[in-house]
């Protein structure tokens, strides 16, 4: 492999090193929703858990199995979701993730799994509103 393909953006390295939001939801008020996507063949498994109050996401955590980009993407999403209005989260798709992390093209497959988990989460969130 050429070294290029293993270089990671500063943001990926930082998120991977800290894994913010890789946690269990602390107790609190509001409805609990979960979004999960599993694709072992593509090397990714992501689960998001969030607490919803009204139309807001008051807290969000993740659990994941995957490459550094996958873990960083999941961590980044949890940070983004916190305190957001559910409706405003539609734009957080795989393309956006790839841009934010500047991930190489071959990682799109895995980022799509992250997107799938997020989509599932947001559907549930809308359902409980």
């Amino acid at each position: 492999m050429t070294p290029e393909t293993v270089r990671y953006s500063a943001r990926v390295l930082d998120l991977f090193a800290r894994l913010p939001g890789a946690d269990v939801l602390p107790a609190g008020v509001g409805a609990l929703v979960t979004g999960e996507a599993i694709a072992l063949d593509r090397g990714a498994w992501i689960r998001f858990d969030a607490r919803i109050e009204g139309e807001r996401i008051v807290d969000c955590v993740f659990r994941a199995w995957g490459c550094p980009h996958t873990l960083a993407a999941a961590a980044w999403v949890t940070q983004e979701l916190r305190a957001r209005v559910v409706q405003d989260c539609a734009s957080l798709d795989a393309l956006r993730l790839a841009r934010e992390l500047d991930a190489p093209a071959e990682k799109m497959g895995r980022l799509l799994v992250v997107e799938d988990a997020l989509t599932a989460l947001l559907e549930r969130a809308r359902a409980v509103q």
Partner: protein
């Protein structure tokens, strides 16, 4: 890279150049009397040629071969291709069948794929779940039109050994040329081509403490297998490998073989002991498993998988502190999972979860203990982020 150099456990990819060899080569590079073309008839040319012949002897002695049977190449990839393409193409139109395995190094694998493109029929043997090739299956797959059997000695991902003696006996009986790729075993365990009875044996310097870019092909003299060269011009190396010989490279290769020979009495046992110490140290990261049987092996390689781990993440976790390879081949292209571990029947997820840890001359017990600690910590941190159920599924 951090300030502290990482612990190097990737000796299967390449071994650091032994400082004594670096010194010998540097002398050679700076010596005005060794600068000429060894093919030149004048005094300085003869001086360079004499050094090369000394090195040829050292290389030959490592595998108990006569010096005239050693052909110098640019590395094991070239040696393997010269043997595989060379023997098959020389067999020509009559014998169009080749026997090899699915766990060969890419050099052997891709050379045989090329033979398929050239119209040869290739039988691809599979190992058992432990990574061993059965000589019985080799015997069963040989046909009247079989030109060549090519099987590696020690596998570069598991270290497992093929029973070369048994396979060459079969090939001798059936009058088939037998080539073995010994890049991972030469200089790491004793090799005796006479006792093995192989017709062709490939190896290289940079897996035994010598320089990169230097290799050798042993070519049995009686009977002498016919080989078509890969490249032509000048007819150096008895017509099998043309091109100006790189004196300093060959001198370094020879010196490395001499040092390796001297160490063969103790080194394999020491490395084997360290490998098992590493295996024990890693138990703290259970659930985990070993890819391939521990023995019979060239003792430097431990290929392990950790439940619920993704290889690329574990490598990044260790990056800068530990130099190892993922479950994949020499060049750890994370892209597609190791075909060797696949041939062992492992799931893609399990292959993703695997590391190849390979030990060598410089490896110490302290390094092994430290490396085990680093890996266990890394595995724990990544597992802490796993979704429920993943630990059970990623195996």
């Amino acid at each position: 890279m951090t300030a502290v150099p990482p612990i190097y456990l990737d000796h299967a990819a390449t071994t650091p150049l032994d400082p004594r060899i670096a010194a010998v080569m540097s002398e050679c590079l700076a010596d005005p009397s060794l600068q000429a073309n060894p093919a030149s008839a004048h005094a300085p040319g003869r001086a360079a040629a004499a050094r090369i012949e000394l090195a040829r002897l050292q290389v030959a002695q490592l595998i108990n071969a006569p010096p005239e049977s050693i052909v110098f190449t640019s590395g094991a990839t070239e040696s393997v291709n010269l043997a595989v393409l060379g023997a098959a193409r020389a067999a020509g139109q009559v014998r169009r069948h080749v026997v090899t395995s699915r766990i060969e190094h890419r050099a052997g694998l891709d050379a045989c794929r090329q033979l398929e493109r050239e119209g040869f029929d290739v039988t691809w043997l599979l190992p058992d779940g432990e990574g061993r090739i059965d000589p019985g299956e080799v015997a069963a797959s040989i046909r009247p039109d079989t030109a060549l059997v090519s099987l590696m000695h020690a596998n570069n991902e598991t270290g497992l050994l093929t029973d070369i003696g048994a396979v060459s006996a079969v090939c001798r009986d059936r009058g088939v040329v037998f080539h073995t790729d010994a890049a991972q075993s030469a200089g790491r365990i004793p090799i005796d081509v006479a006792a093995m009875g192989v017709a062709l044996l490939s190896f290289c310097a940079h897996k035994l403490g010598g320089p990169k870019g230097a290799g050798a092909l042993y070519v049995q003299r009686r009977p002498r297998p016919a080989l078509q060269p890969l490249a032509f011009g000048g007819g150096h190396e008895r017509g099998l490998r043309s091109g100006t010989l790189a004196s300093h490279q060959i001198v370094g290769f020879g010196a490395a073989c001499a040092l390796a020979s001297a160490a063969l009495a103790e080194e394999p046992a020491r490395i084997r002991e360290l490998r098992e110490r590493l295996w024990r140290g890693l138990q703290a990261a259970a659930p985990m498993w070993r890819n391939g049987a521990p023995e019979p092996s060239a003792p430097g390689i431990l290929n392990v998988g950790f439940a619920g781990i993704e290889g690329e993440s574990l490598l990044l976790e260790l990056d800068g502190r530990l130099a190892v390879s993922s479950g994949s081949a020499c060049s750890s292209a994370m892209a597609e999972p190791s075909y060797v571990l696949r041939a062992l029947g492992r799931s893609d997820a399990a292959i993703q979860a695997s590391l190849r840890l390979s030990l060598g001359r410089g490896t110490t017990a302290a390094e092994i203990d430290h490396a085990a600690r680093l890996i266990v910590e890394g595995v724990r941190r990544l597992r802490a982020a796993l979704p429920e159920g993943a630990l059970e599924h990623i195996v």
